[in-house]
Amino acid sequence: MTPALRFRGITKSFFGVKVLQEVSFVVPGGQTVGIVGENGAGKSTLMNILGGNLQPDDGEMEFDGQRYAPASPGDARRAGIAFVHQELNLFGNLAIAENLFLGGFPWRARWLPWIHRRRIHERARQWLAEVNLPHAPDTLVERLSAGERQLVEIAKALAGDARLIILDEPTTSLTAVEAERLFAILGRLRQRGISLIYISHSLGDVLRLCDQVVVLRDGAVVAQAPARELTVERIVAWMVGREISQLFPPRTGQPTDRVLLDVAGVTQPGVVKRVSFQLRAGEILGLSGLMGAGRSELARILFGLDPCAAGDVRLGGESLRGQPPRERIRRGLALVTEDRRWDGLCAEATIGDNLTLVALPNLTRSPLAWVDRAAAGQAVQRIREAVRLTPAARDEQPVKTLSGGNQQKVVLAKWLLNEPQVFILDEPTRGIDVGARYEIYRLIQELAARGAGVLMISSEIEELIGLCDRILVMRRGEIRDCIEPAAFDRERILRAALHEEVGV
């Protein structure tokens, strides 16, 4: 069998820093190859080269036995390579169907550049059904949620009739159920003989899905082996260069009885209904649910970003009614949003400026609100060490040049600087590698141990089970279940999130 794709000595540097060194490996035809590595290992960069987005400094590729050197993403697409990017690449102002066919619309007639609407709608409907998205093809993408957009992105790759599909962390916005659905789709693709490259930080998924696993470390291939010979532990050891004995750090603190955040009957018509719970000092409270269950909306309401028609939120006994986010921040609330690109970071701004943005009012000297540069510099250093941000990056570097995982660390870190009492974390480990994930869990636990309350929204049930003191399950805007550690169970959480009523 001829190898479908061969990398030979691919090398790439950014501003003098080598991010890929002599990468060589083979993706056999019809197989699924998993690529794993820490944040910043160079996975996305390699894929960008494959997808024609970046040009390698050195090395070459071979696809289907022919030299393959795409000059643009269009070249890659024409060669039969589709790319699901790590960051969503959709156009909110266009319809779903248009997003699917943007690179090559079918024409009404050969000589007439007129979009064959009926045909693209039909085909879009077909691919949307494949990924189980019940929207009309002419729905604008801006009306979709993050998870739904991810599915559209996948449908887009399918629609290109590609022979090789690259999936760069496709499950980051998907909940367990949708991820399963995606895996089923990938299974069908493999049966059709399509090669897949699958990048994920969820190593369990990688082992389940892939035939081969390639491990990258610091831009170099450190191992390639058939998946069935591997375990998560071995992969992790290769990735980080040392053994990691456990995925979740041990608990040090215990929840106390002091109520920090008291949510009572929070209701907003059409969004959330009579949501009540209490978050105690030192507690990590999980919030699970399906995509679109309303968890993010609840977080935004609690933070004062969205209106709240009825009910009350009390922080340390004081009502937050009608307070703007700024005031809530001052009183000790923090919100790590789920979409770091849109709500979390100023991508063009420097790392330093992003880190200090929240805490700035505390780093100024009145009365002119003069920024105390020395204090700010120290704070940045302190917090960078606390979250172990990659030391390679300078403070003056734009955040967008960081790898996804490091970007997420910046988002977390900017809140830490403010030392809040209550953290609302919306998918804080999305797109983060095991090592960094461990550190973020450790950070979360440290926060709890110091007496802060953490409300952790996550779509990964394992993560919630491994970390939380209690788990709330949300469905259609309501809290449907509250599970104590003794009863932690994947099945039960899923059931509550799906449909069966379980006694609260």
């Binding site: 970003l305 709500d343 701004a349 943005l357 100024t364 609100a369």
Partner: protein
């Protein structure tokens, strides 16, 4: 967008290159002429820089200058002013001119923050309205006879230098050293992230339009003092020059990027080009053509330099 230091170098290079050819270009007198010409423009440009960093735009600045100039004239003029000859005429006039700018800036700010009207069209309508108003209240007449106490601001170059330099310095310090400045850049980079991070987006936006109006008012004081007239047409055709100077100085029209230093050199660059071409004695239309070419060449230098840098690593 050019980088600010590149514009500084371009200014210098241009000056050195043209000095032997343009008679009197390097003379002290001529430098004073250039300075007197660019100071009022610099002040408006500084205010506009802030708005552009925010990710907005203010097309009404030049019309505010016209109205503020008229207001100053109506108050101070010895011929027809309300406070003609009064001891307080000059201070009241100055405050009123600044106040006019601030007030109109507040109107823009409200339209943008409360009315949620896109800044371009909001300030375009204020531009039309305000310049129409300035001409209407004066019925097109210019107001002369301004008191000497006021004209000093324009006649003594160092006073104008002090005012404009001070204004630029305040903006520079505010932008680079204060909470307000950091917030401004954050909003320009990403409003949504800024809002989540607790930045009072509405207030900062509103405040920036007010400040821009204030700078326009200050510019009006300089313009009025230099030209010794309350003029409803003051700076009417300067809008594109002002926006162009700011953009050439490295400020992005999309927000989040820009410095006062860059704006200073942007304004200087355009003034040097204008002045040198006049000295060369080119005809009216040749000057316009050459000016376009020089701007384009400057932009070309910038991009090729960036490309060379990126390529050479």
């Amino acid at each position: 967008m050019l980088s600010e230091y590149l514009v500084a170098w371009l200014c210098l290079a241009y000056f050195v290159a043209l000095a032997p050819f343009a008679p009197g270009f390097a003379s002290l007198d001529n430098l004073r002429t250039i300075l007197a010409y660019l100071l009022p423009i610099l002040v408006v440009s500084v205010g506009l820089t802030l708005v552009l960093i925010l990710g907005g735009i203010d097309l009404s600045v030049t019309s505010m200058i016209a109205l503020a100039s008229v207001v100053g004239g109506k108050i101070m003029s010895g011929e027809e002013g309300w406070l003609a000859g009064h001891a307080l005429a000059v201070p009241v006039g100055i405050v009123a001119m600044l106040g006019t700018g601030v007030l109109l800036g507040a109107v823009n700010g409200l339209a943008v923050t409360v009315g949620r009207i896109p800044a371009f069209i909001a300030t375009l309508t204020t531009m039309m309205f305000v310049s129409g108003l300035a001409i209407w209240v004066t019925l097109s007449r210019k107001i002369g006879g301004l008191p000497d106490g006021f004209l000093v601001l324009g006649q003594r170059l160092w006073v104008a230098v002090g005012i404009a330099g001070g204004a630029a310095w305040v903006a520079h310090a505010g932008l680079s050293r204060t909470l307000y400045g950091k917030w401004l850049y954050a909003i320009g980079h990403n409003v949504r992230a800024a809002r989540v991070s607790g930045v009072p987006v509405g207030w900062v936006t509103f405040g920036t339009y007010v400040v821009s109006g204030g700078f326009a008012g200050l510019a009006a004081i300089l313009f009025t003092a230099v030209l010794e007239t309350g003029n409803p047409e003051m700076a009417r055709d300067n809008l594109l020059d002002v926006v162009g100077a700011v953009v050439i100085g490295g400020t992005s029209l999309y927000g989040g990027k820009g410095t006062i230093v860059g704006t200073v050199f942007g304004v200087l660059f355009l003034a040097l080009v204008d002045n040198s071409l006049n000295l060369l004695g080119l005809s009216f239309y040749s000057i316009m053509m050459v000016k376009g070419g020089v701007i384009l060449a400057a932009a070309l230098v910038d991009t090729t330099r960036n490309r060379w840098r990126g390529g050479a690593r």
